[in-house]
Symmetry: C2
Subunit: 247 residues, 2 copies
């Protein structure tokens, strides 16, 4: 399996045709997309192309946001946006851990200042699976190849330091792979192993993207294992409360 | 960045010289190790080579283990081993979520039946960083190349379904990469981004290993970003309680 970062991706603006930009940048990188490639795309450029940017100058914070912002040492307008993107507050630490409208639990409901234009924050895409599907469909139509697509975000972990990339939207890629019933090297059946291929690929792809100004928000993954491919939706990754294992 | 799984790794037994087995299997796969390669090794073969296997027939469960096992529908002897490998119980669900003696929080303290010989369980290595260092030192001495080494385990996540590979031991690889102060594409400083290169690589490598009987417990990673290399210890990945973000 290979990870090929696309260099010199242009800065994405609201209204840009992202699938088209991806295909153009693939060509500029002298890469030709192949059947079974996976296109891993950083959430921030998806959000920007879809106009999911908020200019903080236009935000009027509520009293609650002002009070919370004071406690957290944050911009009250940013807190206002975070709350409006949340469906449930999990914990208020130095960041706000909340459940997004999609169901994901993450810091600040995915609202992010980094790689957003000055005075702006980006929001997560409205429907990241749909965003992924648009890229997949465009490439199939334009180049005649079937690729998988993963939209990534970078998230913290409960018991481990350091953020890693995870999948928040997919097309043609499995978010879960149920290995129960398969046999181990001694012929014993595995009883509880369900893995997440989409998150595994997202993690390494986001490492290739870097987080700072490297302008590589898209990584092509080639020769991924067959087990990765299939139809799924990212909501399947959300652990239901009744299956709560850790907390 | 490329992930090259080594095929047909032999079944590892207690007392086996694992670094030597890795070098031999690399050769049988017609791969030659290069400066800057990262050798990703599944915990189970490290544990087995170090004799970290318990035959459940030799375990006498305590009353507590018997009571807990009844509640969990588990083998009381396995529960006994899990408790003896734990330094703190985090939650008792259908699995036991505990803190290992190393400090990691995971299911069943890393005690695993899969890919263990019949009637046996494997325990995590005593000191996975040291296990990684032994492999690194052997390869440097034998082949004259400097490689990084990551020992992986497969772990569940608090708010997401599906397990992913993580690093539990490293040599020559950074577990955390502090990007704070670097600039984003608009020239703004990143304020809070610390990533985990070792976990990002572990996730994709474990995907290549598969979980069942594919006999590929070792994956070579080539052309990883320079930011991945450096000296660190896996304990740095453990989130201190006072930095508790999510729960």
């Amino acid at each position: 399996m290979e990870f090929l970062p696309l260099r010199n991706f242009p800065i994405v603006k609201p209204g840009d045709n992202l699938p088209k930009l991806i295909v153009e940048t693939v060509e500029k990188n002298n890469v030709s997309l192949e059947e079974g490639d996976i296109i891993v795309v950083c959430q921030s450029i998806v959000s920007k192309s879809e106009g999911r940017i908020v200019n903080l100058k236009k935000v009027k914070p509520s009293r609650l946001s002002v009070a919370l912002a004071k406690k957290l040492g944050k911009d009250p307008r940013e807190v206002e946006v975070i709350l409006s993107e949340s469906s449930e507050i999990i914990k208020i630490a130095h960041v706000i851990i909340s459940r997004t409208k999609h169901g994901f639990v993450c810091a600040n409901a995915g609202v992010d200042r980094s790689n957003a234009p000055p005075n702006c924050v980006t929001l997560l895409p409205e429907n990241p699976d749909e965003s992924a599907k648009k890229i997949r469909d465009f490439i199939r139509k334009k180049l005649g190849v079937n690729v998988g697509v993963i939209i990534t975000d970078t998230q913290g972990r409960t018991f481990r330091l350091g953020c890693v990339g995870v999948a928040i939207g997919v097309a043609g890629v499995k978010v879960l792979d149920d290995l129960r019933g398969k046999k181990d090297i001694y012929g014993k059946k595995l009883v509880s192993t369900i893995t997440s291929p989409a998150d595994a690929i997202a993690a390494a792809a986001v490492l290739m993207m870097g987080e700072a100004d490297e302008k590589t928000p898209v990584v092509i993954v080639r020769n991924a294992p067959q087990s990765v491919f299939g139809e799924s939706k990212c909501i399947e990754l959300v652990r239901p409360k009744e299956k709560n294992l850790f907390v």
